[in-house]
Symmetry: C3
Subunit: 380 residues, 3 copies
Amino acid sequence: MKSGYLRTASTFVQGAQTLAQRYYSSPALLDEEIEQLFRRRWMWVGRSDELPNAGDYLLFEKFGESVVVTRTKRGGVTAFYNVCRHRGTRMCGEPRGTFSETIQCPYHAWTYSASDGRLIGAPHMNEVEGFSRDDFGLHAASVHEWEGWIFVSLSRQPIAFEDAMAPVLTTFSRFNLAALRRVERRTYDIRANWKLILQNYNECLHCPTIHPELSRVLPYTSGANDLFEGEFLGGYMEILEPNESATLGGKACGVPIGDLPDDDRRRAYYYSLFPNMMLSIHPDYVNYYSVWPVREDRSIVVTEWMQHPDSLAGGYSPQSAIDFWDLTNRQDWHICEQGQLGIASRVYEPGPYSPRESIPAAWDRAYLSAMGHPGSSNAS
Amino acid sequence: MKSGYLRTASTFVQGAQTLAQRYYSSPALLDEEIEQLFRRRWMWVGRSDELPNAGDYLLFEKFGESVVVTRTKRGGVTAFYNVCRHRGTRMCGEPRGTFSETIQCPYHAWTYSASDGRLIGAPHMNEVEGFSRDDFGLHAASVHEWEGWIFVSLSRQPIAFEDAMAPVLTTFSRFNLAALRRVERRTYDIRANWKLILQNYNECLHCPTIHPELSRVLPYTSGANDLFEGEFLGGYMEILEPNESATLGGKACGVPIGDLPDDDRRRAYYYSLFPNMMLSIHPDYVNYYSVWPVREDRSIVVTEWMQHPDSLAGGYSPQSAIDFWDLTNRQDWHICEQGQLGIASRVYEPGPYSPRESIPAAWDRAYLSAMGHPGSSNAS
Amino acid sequence: MKSGYLRTASTFVQGAQTLAQRYYSSPALLDEEIEQLFRRRWMWVGRSDELPNAGDYLLFEKFGESVVVTRTKRGGVTAFYNVCRHRGTRMCGEPRGTFSETIQCPYHAWTYSASDGRLIGAPHMNEVEGFSRDDFGLHAASVHEWEGWIFVSLSRQPIAFEDAMAPVLTTFSRFNLAALRRVERRTYDIRANWKLILQNYNECLHCPTIHPELSRVLPYTSGANDLFEGEFLGGYMEILEPNESATLGGKACGVPIGDLPDDDRRRAYYYSLFPNMMLSIHPDYVNYYSVWPVREDRSIVVTEWMQHPDSLAGGYSPQSAIDFWDLTNRQDWHICEQGQLGIASRVYEPGPYSPRESIPAAWDRAYLSAMGHPGSSNAS
């Protein structure tokens, strides 16, 4: 939904074009994306405050996997694949819950330690020659907490989280994100390739035609990008006075999210965090999205809104922010679906990006690089 | 539904057999049909009177394509792919409407001339080195009007319409088709391969068992075929006195469709126009069908009825003709679905056509020839 | 649901493991199973008493085939593919019915003898040179009656039924199965591979956790297997006093199914009959299942209950047996579905069977052998 104006013309690569058709319509390409991106990178799975106490767990279920993420006694998080080592049964079915000390498979009562995944009980297996419980602990997954979010990687050898997120590791610290509280969660089912949703988020050239409500608050020519090449992209837009925030009506819907410098009280920040997270920071609330491919032409978006705890206590309502983005997002989803339909045509060919689309053009480059498709430069 | 008796035995090729199983059950074969037939031939998309005024448009949406067909100021028709040259977005979503002078993409406001597809506006693209609007006009599709119908071809180099339709270009001129008015449109979803529907239309040997109502009006042994080899096939059947037309009840449901010779006032004509149109001409009304493959085992049929404008003004109702064919068509669709199920069996093998099925046998030959499958003769 | 204790340790193959992932998740593997197993073996299609009179028929419709099974005048059964030899049409649509003397295709009235499939009428085919009705009889399928059930084979050269079933041909004769009467039929749609259902049936190690109701009647450590290697597997469990049978409440729900020896009046027998039938024999009723793959991750189970005719006449109700198994089966289907989900994970690998799972381990071996996968031993 946003773009922000370019600091310098050099940030736009002349000749940049949209991706080729197969990136939007090939099931095999989606399989490759899952292998190269989603099974290798760190993925958002939830908020830390969803697991307040030791033994609390949530399930992360994507790409055929089910991962149990659990709060440990020491206060950290741990993650195991939800697959019994006996006959492969998915053990936990509820999306959230609390373990006592153990995870027990309901099929034949194999029992594992909830804190470290060790097998501690397996009826009648002592009758099997050479069987050792040490060989059959639950398979671990990698998990990391950052800025109040929990991330998981399905890779057996993931790049260290700090390395993966290096360009933005401390970028958001002034926004107090870890202390904010979720106030809403919505899920959308969109008939478009997941990348169309990322590209759409990364520019606001479309705002005058698609988003009349947003355009009254956030002029598409305002602001600047501070991240304009690589896997993390974005910047800010100026909130047009007398509006106070991006809400229906323009009034702030909460106290400031943190002790913000003056500049930040008049700005909205929009960043995409590769591969599939989008982060929107406003003076009085934060909303973010995770985008999940389901098929090459269908995606699920999960989005949440957060506010400072004092907003909830102080009688504020986030409704005007929720309604503002529900309206704006639906406008975006619709045009993304129209893009999916058009790109499927035999006559589609990559078209030219304008300098006002420098960020989606940069996103495409980061995507092609991450996919290992160097020959598929997006510059003609 | 019809056959008509053979003029001479020579029109039936001894040994003719039904097509092999793969022609009805292979998704890859359907892809080949779309490539070899539907994307190369002229296809019915609507009636000329659906676009009475300059700027009026209709969408033709099949085989993943969306084509905008527009009435020009000069009174002709023009057609463009509904794909913005910027980022590929499908621009028009409504099945029918009217353009002022331009087509504007709702995503980033690229604007095209509605009459010739030229790009006339593209915000911020002047900042792109070497960009020329002349390079980014809408992709054109071929379009042609004939007998009051509009046809489109998705081929980049289609055979000229007059050449494609040469055997029937003037055949129907005495029936006044261009002046008739549509009075009904129905759509059917059928769980059968599209060719089963064409084959079924092309013979009336099945009428005594499948169509008791039709058989009382149109004896299957009456009449004669005048087109019995090639891509255009059919002929007439005699309407059995005292019936006046093929309606429920047998009464005419309108004034004559034109200034018909006496013979034609007692006849019903049934023609199949390759690849997927079927045309039924009765003294007082005309109905026609377009048959669209959706999957190898599923098809959509769109059918319309037309009458002379004086029938509508004169207080006639087409209902008895609509009901007659709705009943008869449903009988046909059902048996076509039973054919689809049976042919899927491992024991199915091509069976022998009788001389009363000379027209479907000829249709199969034309089909195999158009597909470039000369080795797949349908004569054993 | 059952296991029974092992007579000797030698019946368990040390190192036996569950099958590899592809056996549960590959569509190509399912195609291979259909080819190697379901199209070659004898399959349950119904009960003999469903066809009491000459001309009565039932349809068997699986794997894209429709087979008409008919009672002959001599009292036997015969079977023909439901595919007209003319244009391949499926002729019969009703699942059950009665023929007079002939089967007539509704499309063009080709007519066949219902007793031997000969073509006896084909309108206008006498006009075709060299056409002989003798060449176009219906395709026959193999059919056999045993213990009151009807079995069909889709193989053109099936192994003789007596040879195929040799290990159990007389095993059940003391149970009077042919004289029993069906009292209920239920169908379940399960989101799990068909083999998970067979494996689940073949052991009761899971009963203490999954089946609290069953475990009160049938202790999983009771009984013994008498068929422990090969395609037919199973044995008995002891009914725990004071329970009389496996019913809700534990009371018998009918008179004894036959003149049973004393031992059999306190036992429940559970057998799996390769590939896809499961047979449960209780003192007062019999229930059995056929398991049908629909996709690699979805199956249909058809199950019926039978009782002695005197139970029905004597005012007994089978409801407590029906409810008992409906409850127990749903518990099983659910855990099979959890197995399907877990096995789909990238981290799944074959796990170790315990001696209490010697029968599913033996079933897997018989399965791999029947599939011709000798390299895929299930012993590590």
